[in-house]
């Protein structure tokens, strides 16, 4: 089962924010309060058990294995036929307005069907979604792993622009892929805590002290259970 995933190398990342601007440019994400599909948080300088550290949390939607945002979508289920971008296969699935794409593992939003209720925005423990209220009808929005680019053979915008080559993108189910190697052989870590582990597909590698700071950013609130 193909699963798109990303590994971010904090040894390489210099916190230049090229990824956030490239994403905003590519998808015309408007400037608004919290309107962004990805972000770079600065961590430190701060003392850690492994020394003084100064690193970054480049974050985006994790396209989780168990996307809680999909669970809380109130839109009606509708049958959709999905096409595999890599072969002739098709699959019929009943989906709401947000769903996990069967052939890529990307979590996507059908803007036509989105009700703009904001449930998914509140449910995401990583705060990866936002509600665009600048439109005629509000719509949820988030990172799509540059689905439209990737299926046409292009790299995701953030990966393409990264000046330190710190973002590695690929298919986690492919043992020959770089992301597979980093996750299964080089110990890449994902942002999970004992309270929140919904199978994020964005991983991180780095020095001990940097990962120490990063892991403090792992969400601990089960936000999807707190919806009205």
């Amino acid at each position: 089962m193909r699963q798109w995933a990303m590994v971010i190398d904090l040894n390489r990342c210099v916190g230049c924010h090229a990824c956030t601007i490239a994403c905003r440019a590519e998808w015309e994400v408007p400037i608004g309060n919290g309107y962004r599909r990805n972000w770079v948080k600065h961590l430190g300088p701060e003392e850690t058990p492994h020394g003084l550290a100064f690193t970054f949390y480049p974050g985006l939607c994790n396209h989780c294995d168990n996307p809680v945002c999909v669970e809380v979508c109130p839109a009606d289920e509708v049958e959709v036929v999905f096409k595999d971008p890599y072969s002739n296969k098709t699959k019929k699935m009943s989906v709401k307005a947000t769903y996990k794409h069967p052939f890529t593992g990307a979590v996507l939003i059908d803007k036509e069907r989105c009700l703009g209720c904001g449930n998914c925005v509140e449910a995401c423990p990583y705060n990866a979604r936002y509600l665009n209220e600048d439109l005629e009808e509000p719509k949820a929005d988030k990172c799509t792993f540059c689905f439209d680019r990737v299926i046409r053979g292009e790299e995701p915008a953030c990966v393409k622009t990264c000046i330190a080559d710190a973002r590695i993108f690929g298919d986690l189910s492919d043992p020959k892929s770089k992301v597979y190697e980093l996750v299964h052989k080089k110990g890449a870590k994902r942002l999970v805590s004992k309270e929140v582990n919904i199978g994020p597909n964005v991983y991180y590698i780095g020095k001990e002290k940097d990962l120490y700071l990063l892991m403090k950013q792992a969400p601990t609130k089960r936000t999807w259970e707190e919806l009205e």
Partner: protein, 181 residues
């Protein structure tokens, strides 16, 4: 006298007045005064007695560059496109122009420049394209013009521009009534 031709002429006049003025001829001033009377709009004395130099300075201050950051740039994108030039609203305007088989004659200003949009209204009137005109007004021009007007008035402009924006608003309003009927 064909009212259609008059209306079109009116909108061309407006388009010219919202473009950078090199001078305001006495004949133009006369037309403006009379228009205000006809439409029952009240204006102050000084509105039409503005001197050329003052007009140029005020126009620059309001619409081009100013110490306080240009307060009322006359482009749809600034109001509906996130504060920038040449955003989706400009593409919208261009799409409308293309449907009528026209485009801006000068490439200096972006397509969603107020004078261009008013000139387009004039063109649609001349060609009798009522359907398209109605769509253009309702889906585009009238969605941003009030925001522009608000920004302009907030900048405390000279009475001339207060008069001009009232006149434009009144004419657009009446026109919209007519084509939507």
């Amino acid at each position: 006298m064909k009212k259609g031709a008059d209306l079109s002429q009116l909108f061309i006049l407006l388009a010219k007045l919202w473009d950078y003025p090199t001078n305001l001829s006495p004949e133009t001033k006369e037309v403006l005064e009379k228009l205000h009377e006809d439409l029952g709009l009240s204006t102050s004395e000084e509105a039409f007695s503005i001197k050329d130099e003052e007009l140029r300075e005020e126009y620059t201050r309001l619409f081009i560059n100013t110490p306080l950051g240009v307060p009322a740039p006359p482009f749809a994108s600034v109001y509906k496109g996130g504060g920038l030039l040449c955003q989706k609203p400009m593409e919208e305007a261009m799409a409308f122009y293309r449907r009528a088989g026209v485009g801006p004659a000068s490439e200096n200003e972006p397509a969603d420049y107020l004078p261009l949009e008013l000139a387009f209204v004039a063109y649609l009137l001349t060609e009798g394209k009522t359907e398209l005109l109605r769509e253009f007004l309702n889906k585009h021009l009238l969605s941003w013009f009030p925001l522009f007007r608000e920004a302009l008035l907030k900048a405390q402009p000279h009475q001339f521009f207060v008069a001009l924006v009232s006149l434009t608003e009144a004419l657009l309003s009446k026109l919209n009534e007519e084509v939507s009927a």
